[in-house]
């Protein structure tokens, strides 16, 4: 049996789920309402939907999705800028696939491509560097989207471009770091969360220790976990135990097969070497201090912003879009008036309906019933 199959064993899963239901019942008695946990990471959101966990725990505990889908938290203005790069003569925009369909204020990369912009999907920034090398007559602008997980690869692509002496490769970075967003959540007086499920991949880079403030400063129990069904059920079990124990909140590592206390030191060094921390705007949160990464001055020549400075109109936010509140865990997709009505995967209004890791896309795909087909 493959090791991962153990993490999907339905027998073990059902047994653990019964325990979770029982503890959730006790937590409900204690709180006077079902406990509310947030899965911060988009990949967890999809895993929860795919396993049908929300329905299985309906009425016992509530799972909210958080700001951990990098595409979803990309601000309108940033997407408008990506579109603006695509409209510059001689520029090819390279991107991870998820970004292509996300609507900006007025259009998306997908629509711009249909109108003639050269938009190319790459699986890795290294492939975009290779493309730039093979197409010296075009300027390749790679869209650096993602958290601590994708930023090191983008940093290395800059190093690669410099080593190759490429003058036609640059990156538009909208990279973000996760902990400040968790601070923003923790200090929001309207937030009513009883615990956090922390992202596995980001934690692999930054380490368990980086989250201690969640328990220490906000009194929130938190668990880092992996992406298999059992990982998630196990994390719920741990959070409930913490809730019921009455002891101080802790940040636990339930993903020790991947995540270390100190994280991936080499990746952290790469981030420190290439990026400096800045204040950036997150969709739904506004500006979060110290939550963004931009290239340091010594690499600024590879920064597409300074190379091209495209003109970007003032962003327009579509009326009624609640993606922002959703990313803060203030509502579920079903509570958004646009969900499955004006906003669908074929005609998305907000990013949460577009990204494969967006909460609304996951809900729409796996958790929605239609009235008549």
């Amino acid at each position: 049996m493959h090791i991962l199959d153990r993490f999907r064993d339905p027998e073990i899963g059902r047994g653990l789920l019964e325990k979770v239901s029982e503890l959730a019942g006790r937590a409900q008695e204690k709180l006077g309402r079902p406990p509310v946990f947030m899965e911060v990471c988009g990949t967890h959101t999809v895993a929860v939907s795919k396993a049908g966990l929300r329905g299985l725990l309906d009425g016992k505990l509530e799972l909210r999705s958080g700001p951990g889908c990098p595409v979803c938290v990309t601000d309108y203005g940033d997407i408008d800028a990506m579109v603006a790069f695509g409209r510059l003569p001689g520029v090819t925009v390279g991107t991870f696939g998820d970004m292509v369909r996300v609507p900006g204020s007025r259009t998306s990369l997908e629509r711009e491509k249909a109108r003639g912009a050269d938009i190319r999907v790459f699986y890795s920034p290294a492939d975009a560097v290779k493309w730039a090398q093979e197409n010296p007559e075009r300027q390749m602008v790679f869209l650096g989207v993602g958290f601590e997980t994708t930023a090191p690869a983008v940093a290395l692509s800059v190093a690669q471009a410099r080593a190759l002496g490429l003058f036609n490769y640059s990156v538009f970075t909208v990279h973000k770091v996760v902990p400040p967003a968790l601070r923003a959540l923790g200090s929001d007086p309207e937030m009513k969360l009883d615990g956090l499920i922390l992202p596995g991949h980001v934690s692999a880079i930054i380490g368990r220790r980086a989250y201690d403030f969640i328990a220490a400063e906000y009194g929130l129990p938190a668990v880092i976990t992996g992406f298999e069904t059992l990982d998630i059920i196990d994390a719920l079990y741990n959070l409930l135990q913490q809730l019921l124990s009455g002891g101080p909140a802790r940040v636990e590592n339930g993903y020790t097969r991947v995540v270390k206390e100190e994280g991936n030191v080499r990746a952290q060094e790469i981030l420190d070497r290439f990026f400096e921390i800045t204040d950036v705007s997150w969709r739904g949160f506004g500006t979060i201090p110290g939550s963004g990464m931009e290239l340091k001055p010594e690499y600024r020549e590879f920064d597409a912003r300074s190379r091209f400075a495209p003109e970007v109109e003032e962003p327009r936010i579509p009326a009624g879009c609640r993606c922002g509140d959703l990313l803060k865990g203030k509502l579920t997709p079903r509570e958004c008036r646009l969900f499955a009505a004006a906003c669908t995967p074929s005609h998305p209004v907000g990013p949460c309906m577009v990204s494969s890791e967006g909460a609304c896309a996951a809900f729409y795909q796996y958790e929605r019933r239609s009235a008549a087909g």
Partner: protein, 337 residues
């Protein structure tokens, strides 16, 4: 025999000498049959008893050559399968080639030879054809359009109108092989030949079912959008719910692993040698046995059943949860973190 240097020129499509050479020296050499060799403006052929079935399809696959097949084999199998799942015995095909100037003649020969092999395998003939060559950049390498003609024998009646609660849903094997093989070949993921398209003609296995059973209500080939999309279309068109068991749906280990890595769902990936059959409950086990007796049905499974409802598709997860499946929206994109 074209050597490796020779390419398709605009002149190959101008109706003159080069066109003639291409038609006789390449197309007729591989696809030759009496009807085609007559070189008339229209093919004439006898039509037997029953109803005639006609289908048309265009093939624009990128890349044109992939593990397990190429655009030529795909064009034949894809068209045959549309006829097969309609209950028709495939008889004749037409093939129109749209070629970008500069496409290697050796590549064209490879495509035509594989069409010929697929036709021989299926026992059908290409009876009419056309070739157009367009300038560089006006299309991507090679496109093929086909029309397929088949005959539905008297007594065969397939359709949404026959589907009823209680019917069982069967598939003839693993889901997502073609979509994943092509995605991997296109993006150069280096999975090697571990991911192979399932491109194959299904008319023999569908014929077995129809010949042996009265209770086959509907068949669908699970191409673009995969099993999930076809299931949703069937549910919506028949105003019933389909309940599928996640653990009953066969997915090969290679596709499963690659799909997880890329964040795509095998149930939404295209197949080119897989079909779904809705069968009366009393005949489901027999249908399964008939499928498994065919080389294209060794991995066949009963994956679910029809219930009264309103056009939903539900997937029971291994844990006992329920997921909802919908039409594919947009191309499946990889995850970014």
């Amino acid at each position: 025999m074209p050597n490796n240097e020779e390419i398709v020129l605009l002149a190959h499509g101008d109706g003159g000498r080069l066109t003639h050479e291409l038609v006789t020296g390449l197309f007729l050499r591989h696809l030759g049959n009496r009807t085609l060799a007559a070189m008339t403006d229209a093919a004439a052929f006898p039509v037997g008893e029953g109803r005639m079935a006609v289908t048309t399809d265009s093939f624009v696959i990128d890349p044109p050559f992939f593990p397990g097949g190429d655009i030529g084999k795909l064009a034949v199998c894809g068209t045959v399968n549309d006829l097969a799942v309609s209950g028709a015995e495939p008889r004749y095909l037409t093939a129109a080639f749209l070629i970008e100037e500069g496409f290697p003649l050796a590549g064209l020969e490879r495509v035509v030879a594989s069409m010929a092999a697929a036709c021989r395998d299926a026992g059908i003939e290409i009876v009419a054809g056309d070739t157009k060559v367009v300038g560089r950049g006006q299309l991507d390498r090679i496109f093929i359009n086909t029309t397929g003609v088949g005959v539905i024998p008297p007594g065969v009646d397939l359709g949404y109108h026959r589907i009823a609660p209680g019917d069982r849903i069967l598939v003839n094997g693993n889901m997502g092989d073609h979509g994943m093989a092509v995605l991997a070949a296109r993006e150069g993921f280096g999975f090697g030949d571990r991911l192979v398209s399932d491109c194959a003609s299904l008319h023999r296995i569908t014929g077995r079912l129809l010949a042996g059973l009265e209770g086959v209500k509907l068949m669908r080939d699970l191409t673009r959008g995969g099993l999930a999309t076809s299931a949703k279309e069937i549910a919506a068109s028949s105003a019933v719910d389909l309940w599928l068991g996640e653990t009953d749906i066969p997915v090969g280990a290679g596709v499963k692993g690659a799909a997880e890595m890329l964040g795509v769902d095998p149930l939404y990936l295209a197949n080119e040698g897989k079909f779904l059959a809705v069968v009366a409950p009393g005949e489901a086990e027999q249908a399964l046995a008939l499928m498994r007796a065919d080389e294209l049905g060794r991995e066949a499974r009963i994956i679910g059943e029809v219930k009264a409802g309103a056009g939903n598709v539900f997937l029971k997860t291994a844990l006992g949860g329920t997921k909802y499946l919908d039409l594919l929206a947009g191309a499946p994109l990889p995850r970014i973190c």
